[in-house]
Every structure is written in C-alpha cells, then in structure tokens.
Symmetry: C2
C-alpha cells in the first residue's frame, strides 16, 4: 500500500466543461458573474444547449488543490464522490495520474458525475454553473479514519456546506482530525457561499479550523467588515494560520506571531479558474514540508500564476520543475 | 427545418483524450508514432491507466472537418455514430454548437462512444490510439437519402474502411451521391490505413471519387511510387480534383487543367492533430462557395495553421473571422 497522504483534501468531485463566452451570454442566462452558481439538471441542460463548443477537464476545487500539491512533488490524498460513469472515470484517471491517492468508491446508483459549465469571459473572469450530481451521494462512510489519522492536514471546501450529506461527511472528517491531532484547513470557497453559511462558517472557524484560506471578498463577507485590515484584526483572534489572496495584490499570510505579504507572480491572465485552488496547493505543500510562511506564500503565488495563464484549473506543467526554475 | 447542408461529412464520431508524453512512453506501449493505432477496450484501458492527466475534446477526422467548415461560415452536416452516454452528449453538443447539422441517432445498445487517446510528443507529433466503440454500430440506415441528395459534396474518411458496417454505410452514401449528382470526396486518412486497403482505395478513387485528399506519405503509398511527382502524374488520370498536403511545404491542388501550389501558413506548431482535417475543411468550404483552387488552398492552409497552434483538433477561434483578418 502507498504511504499515507500528508495532505488529505475533501471536496466536490467535478469535471469542468469550459468555453469562452461574451458578457451577453451571461446576461441572457441570468448568471452571477464570477460566482459558483448551483444549477439543477434542467438548467444545466438549458445552458449547455446554448453554450459554444467546449473542452472538458477534471476540476473541483479541492481536487485541483490535491492535484497541485502532487504536482509540487508533495503527498496528497482526495476524498470525493463520482458516479461509475465516463466522466467519473475521467476524474479518477486525472487525479490518480498526477499522483494523488484517491480511494473513494464511485456511486453506482443516483445522479451522474458532477459537471461545472465554466464560462470564461474576455476579462478572464470565470462564472461557474455546477450541477452537483453524484457529489450529493457522499456519506460519512466515505471518510476513512485511518487516512484522516495519518494525514498532517485535512483540507476541505466551503462548497461542501451546500448539501446535508456532504456537510455531515465533512464534520465527521473534522472530528476525526481533532481526535488524531490532524490539523484542519478550510477554504471559504466563494463569497456567495459565505453569504449562504456565514454563521456556521464563523462558528466553524472559531471552533474547528486551524488554517483558513479566503480571498478578500470572502473574508470581508465572513466578518461583515469594510476593510481588509479589519478582517485581518478579526482573524488574528480566531485562527492559527490564515492565507488570504488579493488577486494582483498578492497574498497575506498570518500566524500568531507573523504577518507576511507575498507578491503575485507575474503572468498573462487567460482564465482565473483555479487561482485560489492552486494558491492553496502551494501553501499546503509548503506547510506539509515544514516551510516558513513566506516560502509557502511564494509556492502559492507561483502555482496560481501557472493555472491562470491557460484555460482550465489544473496545472499544465510540473509545479516541482517550475518552482526549481523560478523560485 | 434547417436548410440542407452543402457539405455532408461522414466519419467515426470520436472524443479525444489528449496528453503530452515523451518518446519513452510511446516505446513502452509499443505505439507506432504518428499513426492512428486501433486499440481494443483492454489495450485502451491499459494505456489510459498509464497516461498522464488529460484534456477531453471532441474529435474524429470528418467531425473536425465539418466543424471547420461551419467555423468558416459554411454549410456542413455530419453522419457518425455515438452512444447515448456522457461522451456522446459531449460530441453532439460540440458539433452542433459550432453550427453543423448532426442528426444521426445515438446507439442505445452496444459499446460506448469512441475515444482516441492522443499522445502528443515534444516534436508536436500526435500518435492516436482509437477505441472505435459505438462507431461500429453505424449502419446503412443512418445514411439519409434526402441529406445526401441535397448536398453538393459528400466527404468521407478512409478510416471508415476499418470495419464492415462502416464501410457498408459509406458505400451506400456514395451510391446515393452518384444517383443524385452529389460530388464524392475521400480522404485517405493515414498511410497505415492506405497500406491496409490499398487495392480497394485505388478502385474507389478510380470509380467513385471526385475530390481526393491525401498527404504525401498517403499518396506515395496508394500508388506505390517513390516521388511526389510520380504520384501527381498518376492522380491526373484518376480524379477530377486532388488536394495534397506536404506539411511545411504547403499543398498542391490539382484539377484537369490546373496545378496550384499553396504555401503553408506560418505558425508555431504545438500539436499536429487535425492538420489534415482542417486543411480539408478550408478546401471544401472554398469549393462549396465556388472559389478557385488557389483560394481553396489558402483557406486550407489557414485552418491547418490555426489548429496546429494549440492542443486539440477543433479550431479555437472563428475561422471566418481569421480568414477576414489574414487572407
């Protein structure tokens, strides 16, 4: 058996269907630009039937992060539910092929593997339209205690709060992490997601989270404050480590006794999908290798820059090689 | 109902699974570099399990051509068999979304939608490993006489000779074309394919084909000659129009009273997949619009240059816009 993964990621297992559209397309389909919009099967079919020719790539926020950690040469595992279908096979192949341990059994009944139609506008913004499908079939039984116990860090998506079975599975994973001394990390995922679950997320961050990821909009929304500085002040009293991204302004990493600002890595922005996921991959890889916060932040910036330089949310080159060359 | 398509394309309906590999990967899996290798389900699974993370895009030679014609603003239809599954839905979506008429009913029994694992080496060569799946479920009943009758040109792949049901369907389509005065066009597809069916292809070119597409290796193999000039001399006695590609040397278009050489369009070569398919798209679009051979050849060069500048065998920009800008 393979050595246990140091960073165990948990999220919605999704195959992305990616196309470039103009702003009029978003308006016509009444899509919230920049957001992750949940869609039912009917709305999904309706958008797809009007969507330009597309490209399919494995995605899913925490899946992208796990793949990124593995691409750095790190040790990553993944928990997420696909169906036993063609897109489920694609998802499994892609995450295992990059070196991530992925053992969650596929669902054999119920909805097909989740898809997200990702609409990329000329400003490189991405608007996601996610049909959760088989993701809602996950259960507490998919969380393997030995895997959680063996990991240094359990990393979960805020997106998992969107359905009861996913949330139950995450909460069990977090409890197991606490039982075994595994650190718990959460990404707030999306500011609209924070709007949906603000109180729960606040409690969670207070009581169960050691390492928090968020972008500026998400953290302002969480604490309902006006400025980034106010959010930082709040965070210092609530988590051990926070890593906050600010797009082209780079990121701020925070611990009890340190506050580090890391610049964004220069690149050409083609598609912002996966920027936060790959930033988290770099930071988590660094933490799992015992690096200091500044180095972690640089890994994050580098990985985010790579993924936004092309269409799709998985790194197209070895992040290990890229780090050796650029850092 | 939509106006009938001017160019009706017929081929194996395939979703491509594309990844970059090194030459050692081809050697390990004993793959013939640059060829279309047919694989059974077991070999397909074996290669896939060892393949790096991939990207999925609709493909299939004549499907790429039909999509290219539509991207030029031309009128194209497609006949090909997918299964009623996720990848079949992807194929149907992509070809219809670019404006191709595609009405072939999906198979509801038998093998899944065809896939081709396309391995792109650092020299930008592509090596294809195709599991034909549902393509072998096509039958003469999938050829609609009214569609063939209404078209100006019927365009078919040499690849269709690989199984008996596909061949039977093509021959019926060709007979209907002759009955209704629709021109017949064939691409030889692949020099290994020509090796497999040389005598049949020679008879076919002689008796049923009006417009022939081939690259240099294919046409040398068809007539078992040593030089391109000898092949040209042979062709003049056998077909009304031939369009022959020579990679970076451009192409030669031939009719009873004309021989035109067209330069390749300058580009950066990332992945040669689809070069011949998109060249054919440009030429067929030109012919269907009544353009002279030189203009047809230029459309072909432009489309081929676009498709080899990125991963995947479908144009990523509007060829109509590109032609307006560049020609």
């Amino acid at each position: 058996m393979a050595e246990a993964a140091k960073v165990l990621c948990m999220g919605n297992a999704i195959v992305d269907i990616i196309a470039r559209v103009d702003d009029a397309f978003l308006a016509k389909h009444d899509r919230e630009k920049g957001a992750m919009n949940l869609v039912d099967a009917e709305t999904s079919a309706s958008i797809y039937s009007d969507m330009p020719p597309a490209v399919e790539r494995s995605g899913g926020s925490a899946g992208n992060t796990a793949a990124g950690i593995a691409s750095f040469g790190g040790s990553a595992g993944y928990i997420g539910k696909v169906h036993d279908d063609q897109l489920g096979t694609v998802f499994r192949h892609d995450i295992q092929a990059v070196g991530v341990q992925f053992n969650t059994a596929p669902a054999t009944t119920g909805a097909p593997t989740a898809t997200s139609m990702i609409l990329v506008t000329p400003d490189a913004q991405r608007t996601m339209n996610t049909f959760l499908g088989a993701c809602t079939e996950i259960s507490e039984y998919d969380v393997v205690e030995a895997e959680v116990a063996a990991a240094d860090i359990l990393y979960v998506e805020g997106y998992l709060w969107d359905t009861a079975p996913m949330k139950a599975a995450v909460l069990r994973a977090m409890d197991l992490a606490h039982k075994h001394g595994t650190k718990v990390s959460l990404t707030l995922s999306d500011s609209f997601c924070v709007d949906r679950f603000r109180e729960e997320f606040r409690d969670l961050v207070d009581s169960k989270v050691d390492i928090l990821f968020a972008n500026e909009a998400e953290i302002l929304s969480l604490y309902e404050v006006e400025t980034f500085e106010e959010a930082l002040a709040e965070l210092k009293t609530h988590v051990k480590i926070a890593a906050l991204t600010r797009s082209e302004k780079g990121s701020v990493l925070l611990s009890a006794d340190e506050e580090v600002t890391v610049a964004a890595f220069p690149t050409t922005v083609e598609d912002t999908t996966g920027a936060g996921d790959l930033y988290a991959a770099g930071v988590l890889f660094g933490l799992s290798e015992g690096k200091d916060l500044e180095t972690c932040g640089k890994f994050g910036s580098l990985a985010a820059a790579e993924v936004i330089s092309h269409l799709g949310a998985r790194a197209e080159v070895s992040l290990k090689d890229l780090a050796a060359e650029k850092l």
